[in-house]
Structures are given as structure tokens and as C-alpha cells.
């Protein structure tokens, strides 16, 4: 019943008149308050997407640098752990107390390509929160004790099975490149890391040409620019400015390969398979998003587990092939990973899951239908707006996109791009990225029934006329 409902909506919405009636007023209202952008005297970009009806203000500084930029493996992970452990003028205790006293929250989140410093507070406390944010970015004390503690924690730390398989996926698919290095760092290099290595990383990478300050919620653009001019006065552009999203000059080559971490004492197998996707700025990005949505994601604990639109989900649900699966499309600045992560305890059926997954992948290149594409577009459009449901999400979207590509696609731009995607586009992009392409995969756990590389690679294309 639910699927019929969805289907009829999808078909209705595909009529242009219907879409324009429903969407136009929204897009006009959004366009009147489009994101504003300006540059500080030192070159730092400030972008805001204000919503003056909000009571809160979210700001963030996104640095176009991550574990790919480090010279010693593990630097960024360690930096992430100690970034909020005090500044030159505030001890960790004072910092925590000041943030807490205004009920704000301060966060650092690092990845392979980006480091995000975010702060959210009540609108009235914006001057305070930006002052603290600027302080932790420019004057982090990185004191030796904190680094030692973080290093010990890092060496003793544990990883979830999902983290393990994704780390190995990057390691084997992008072997020999900076993207293939383990995010948390390997023991040998983490042990050698010192406070000075972190300070050097900050000095080298925290430059105005590779950072962007974003604000959303009740943030006045001019006021934020004035505050930023006052507080972000210690950083400058790098000697050879690169610009946002352009710091990785050599795209890594994708190597088809497998890593098998067999462990028969585990109850569940964690398996991830991926082909090379596209970069965040590629015109094919949104088509791959549509493909990801068509293949779908599923969990047996979902209420509508048996009735999602994904064909793979129906097969997996009926035959109990897996506990859950997630289709992903991870776009980096110069390459990407498009694939599938699944967890199963039905260990005899891993090859069945892979077979049906590859059948669905092949179908994308050969016979994907208009209805599926339309459904996926609607889902993506809805999730796009549902995701940007508050100032923090809006600020994060601004920051992540700007740091990755140097520009920001608004919801309207993305909707326009999605509306243009047809089944023929999906077939073309699937033929380019999936059909007969190299594949990298990693299995962890009881993976006796995970087919070997030759068989999986062979099934990336089928005999057809």
C-alpha cells in the first residue's frame, strides 16, 4: 500500500505543472535570502545563510585539510583529540567553563580531507562563541600532557567493525596514496608523533586560502564579517595559495583488490564492496547519488523492512541474506568510492548477497526504469530539505561543500540538477562507473562464503547483446 502511494506521488510530481506549482514559491523565498559571501582582509572567506527568525546561531570553520594532508600518519586524528584541550590564554578547564556558562557547544570533527570546528549558541552569544572558536583554531596550546594522553588513548583505542572494513577499503583501493592511509594512524607512526608535529601541521595547513568561516541561523552577515575581522587576525594565506578543494594535486589511482580479514569466531560478517566513484565537483555526482538511492539501504529492524522500493531490499528481506546494508557514494575532492556495506549473520549466503547486488548494479547499466529514477529523485529531494532542518545542519552543509569544492550548490541548484537526471543518464553513468570496472572489497569476520576477487570482478559485466 505504501509503495503504491509512493509510486502515485512520484508519477504526479513528474508533471512539470505540478512541480512548478509546488516548488516555485519555496525556491523564490529561499532565493531572496541566498547565501552571502565576502572575504576578509587576510583572505579568509566568510559565507552565511541567515535565517533571522531562528533563535540560535551556528558557526563553523572548515579547513580544507585532513589526514590526506599530513606528513606523519595519525597527525590529524591526534590533533582532533587535543584541539579543544586549552589555548595559550585559556586552560582546558577555563575553556570548558566558559563554553558551558553560555550553554554553547564546541566541536571538532576531522576526516580524510576536512577538519571542522563548529560552535553553536544562542543568537545573543554569537560574539562570545566566535571569540572562543577563533581562539581554539589560532592559539591551541597543544600541551605535551594532552598530546601524550591522546596518543596513549589512540594506541589503545578500539575500532568498530565498520571502521575497520572502511579503513581497509581505503587502504587497498587507494594503496600507495595519501587517501589510502589509515585515518587514526598506524602504531609505528603514532608512537613517533610529538606536540611539534601537530603545531607544524596547523602552521602549514591552517591558512586563509584553505579555510572558510560559515554561519547559519540568526547570524547577520555584516556583523559576522566584522567579528571575524577582529578575531581571525592571526592567520594568513599560504605562500603559494591553492584555493579551497584544490590542495590534492594528484588523484590517487583506484586499484581493484581485496582484503580478507577472516575471523570465524565473530558472529557477523562485515563486508564492503566499492568501485571508483567521482569527485564531489564532478557533474556525475548527483547521478551517482540517484544510483545509490535506487540500490537503497535497508535494515531488518526497519518498520517497513519488507516494503521498501529497493529491489535488493526485497530479495534480501525474503531470503534473510543480511541484517542490514547501506549503499554509499563517498565523494572526495578528486575521486570517490561508490559501493555497498553489509552486515550479515547468514554466513552461507554471502555469495548470494554479492550475486544479487551485482545483478542490481548490472541492471543500472542495462535496464533501470523511469519509475525507479523518479522515485529516487523524489527521495533525494525530500531528504535534502529534511536534512537542512536547522542552523547547524545548514552551516555544516555550507562548510563541507565549500571546503570540498570552493563553491556551494544550494538546495534549488541541486534540485534542478536532480530534475534533469533521466533513466538514460543513469544507464550512461552506471556503464561508465560500474560496468566491467575494477572493484575493491574487504571482508571481516566469518567470510568463508565471500567469493574471491576473480569471481566478483568477472561478474562486474555480463554477456549481453
Amino acid at each position: 500500500m505504501a509503495s503504491r502511494l509512493l509510486l502515485s506521488n512520484a508519477i504526479k510530481a513528474s508533471r512539470p505543472s505540478w512541480v512548478s506549482q509546488a516548488v516555485r514559491p519555496l525556491s523564490i523565498s529561499a532565493a531572496t535570502q541566498a547565501a552571502r559571501s565576502s572575504a576578509l582582509k587576510n583572505g579568509l572567506t566568510v559565507v552565511t545563510d541567515s535565517d533571522l527568525s531562528a533563535q540560535t546561531a551556528s558557526i563553523g570553520v572548515y579547513v580544507d585539510a585532513g589526514s590526506r594532508s599530513e606528513t606523519i600518519n595519525g597527525t590529524v586524528h591526534l590533533l582532533e583529540q587535543v584541539a579543544l584541550k586549552g589555548t595559550n590564554s585559556r586552560s582546558a578547564k577555563v575553556l570548558d567553563a566558559q563554553v558551558e556558562s553560555i550553554g554553547a557547544s564546541l566541536d571538532v570533527n576531522a576526516g580524510r580531507e576536512q577538519i571542522a570546528y563548529t560552535a553553536k549558541s544562542l543568537a545573543a552569544d554569537l560574539p562570545k562563541s566566535i571569540e572562543v572558536l577563533a581562539d581554539v583554531i589560532q592559539n591551541a596550546s597543544l600541551n605535551v600532557d594532552a598530546v601524550d594522553a591522546a596518543r596513549s588513548a589512540s594506541l589503545a583505542g578500539s575500532e568498530s567493525p565498520a571502521e575497520i572494513v572502511f579503513e581497509h577499503l581505503h587502504a587497498t583501493a587507494f594503496q600507495g596514496s595519501s587517501l589510502g592511509r589509515k585515518f587514526t594512524g598506524i602504531a609505528d607512526s603514532v608512537q613517533t608523533l610529538t606536540r611539534d608535529d601537530l603545531a607544524n601541521f596547523v602552521k602549514k595547513n591552517y591558512t586563509t586560502d584553505r579555510m572558510v568561516l560559515v554561519g547559519a541561523g540568526n547570524v547577520d552577515h555584516d556583523a559576522l564579517v566584522a567579528l571575524a575581522e577582529k578575531h581571525f587576525n592571526q592567520i594568513s594565506a599560504s605562500v603559494e595559495p591553492t584555493g579551497l578543494g584544490k590542495s590534492n594535486k594528484f588523484a590517487p589511482s583506484f586499484i581493484g583488490s581485496e582484503v580478507r580479514l577472516q575471523d570465524d569466531t565473530m558472529e557477523q560478517a562485515h563486508i564492503v564492496l566499492a568501485v571508483e566513484g567521482c569527485s564531489r565537483s564532478s557533474p556525475d555526482h548527483y547521478t551517482l547519488e540517484v544510483m545509490k538511492t535506487i540500490i537503497g539501504s535497508w535494515d531488518r529492524s526497519l518498520g517497513a523492512a519488507a516494503h521498501t522500493s529497493s529491489r535488493l531490499a526485497a530479495i534480501v528481506n525474503d531470503n534473510k541474506f543480511a541484517n542490514s546494508f547501506v549503499s554509499f557514494n563517498k565523494a572526495y575532492t578528486d575521486t570517490g568510492l561508490f559501493g555497498m556495506y553489509f552486515v550479515t549473520e547468514n554466513n552461507d549466503c554471502q555469495d548470494d548477497f554479492v550475486h544479487f547486488l551485482q545483478k542490481e548494479w548490472a541492471r543500472l547499466s542495462a535496464s533501470v526504469t523511469d519509475v525507479e529514477v523518479e522515485q529516487a529523485r523524489q527521495k533525494l529531494k525530500a531528504s535534502l530539505r529534511l536534512n537542512l532542518d536547522g542552523p547547524s545542519a545548514v552551516a555544516e552543509d555550507l562548510g563541507r561543500q565549500l571546503a570540498a569544492t570552493g563553491k556551494h550548490d544550494s538546495v534549488e541548484v541541486i534540485e534542478k540538477a536532480l530534475n534533469k537526471i533521466t533513466a538514460a543518464d543513469v544507464r550512461r553513468v552506471a556503464s561508465e562507473y560500474l560496468w566491467d570496472r575494477e572493484i575493491a572489497f574487504v571482508g571481516l569476520g566469518p567470510i568463508e562464503c565471500l567469493p574471491d576477487y576473480g569471481r566478483i570482478r568477472g561478474n562486474m559485466s555480463w554477456n549481453r547483446v
Binding site: P161, A162, F166, A171, S297, W298, S324, S327, F328
Partner: protein, 227 residues
Amino acid sequence: MVSIAARLASASLGRSAFRAAAARNVLAPVGLAAQARLKHTSARDTTVIPDFDKYKSGSGDSSNRAFSYFMVGTTGALSFMGAKTTVADFLANMSASADVLALAKVEVDLNTIPEGRNVTIKWRGKPVFIRHRTAGEIDEANAVSVAELRDPQTDSDRVQKPEWLVMLGVCTHLGCVPIGEAGDYGGWYCPCHGSHYDISGRIRKGPAPLNLEIPTYVFDENKVIIG
């Protein structure tokens, strides 16, 4: 702080499902070895992939592919030729040998046959009559009304050149050999049961049901090749 979801999955659906999966994995009893696989237990980290550079192809994907397809294509073509030759060898072995084939055709020099005379030669074990007909005989053969014949055939259906009549010398009744220049119609007469054939070899009288049979033959300058 480090959110794996943020690093790996991008859209909300993916992310929430991912978190759900991750959360369950944390709660589920994952067994001893899962614990043992925690970081840095072995001397060598499994994320350190050995250097396979010397196995890597220096050329691009497409040229490797072209080479593979070339090899597959060439192997296929050679195999096909081998298979074809094998089949041809067997067929040649099973078909008629050269001495048999040599007997399949008979060549007759027409210069040696004067006008108005019959020659009988042996072809594949059967007699073949060749008659060099005179102009009068040709007129006579054409003058016959086809409608009256038991096996209606015009003379031109039975000859390639009017002066040369070539036919099997086997009576269509029971297979005797007719006698030339005999019978009521100036052609052939079968003595066994009295079948009369005319100067075109058509049955005119007697028990035979059909005209005398015409073999395949071709003229080659002054020769006729039968068979």
C-alpha cells in the same frame, strides 16, 4: 567526537541506517576475536598494503584492454581455423576418392560423330546415347504435337543444341537397353516389351510410361561432358 558516519555516508538515509548498524554492532556480543582485532595487536598493521608497484601496468586501462581483446580475438581466429581444417579433413576422408570421382564424368569428342549417326558410351555403368541429328530429324521432332504425347515434352526441353541429342539408354519401362534407328517412329525401339521412342527419345507407343531420361551435360567447344 570522530563520527564515522560523517566520514563515510553522505545522505541522511544512508547515515541513519549506517548509525543503526554501527550501534547494533557495538551492543551485540561480537566474540573474542573481534576484541582481539582491536588496533595495534600485531607487529604489522593490516592497513599497510604491500607495495605492488612492480606488478602495476605502466600503460592505461584501455591499452591493456586492447591487448587482451587482441589476444582473445587472435586465439579465437586461430582456434576456428584449426577446427575448420579438422572438419574439412574428416569430410574429405569420408567423401568419394579420386578414382571414383574420375569416373563420374565422361568426355566425348563430338567431331568423331558424323551427322545422322548414333554413339553409345558407358557413363556410371549405364549406356548413354548421343545422336548427331540431321536437319530433317530436328524438323520431325519439332513437328510432333505435344498434346498427344504420353509424357508431354517439347524437343527444345530435351536438348541444349538441337543437333545433339544426349540421353540415357535405359528404357523407362523395365530398364532394358533400346535399339537405335528402329521402331515405328524412326527413333528407338525396346525389344523387351515393345516400347517405341521417337527421334527426340519421347515415348510414343508401348508400355513405357516416360520419355528417355536426359543426364546433366555441358558442351565444351567440340566436346560434351556428361555428369
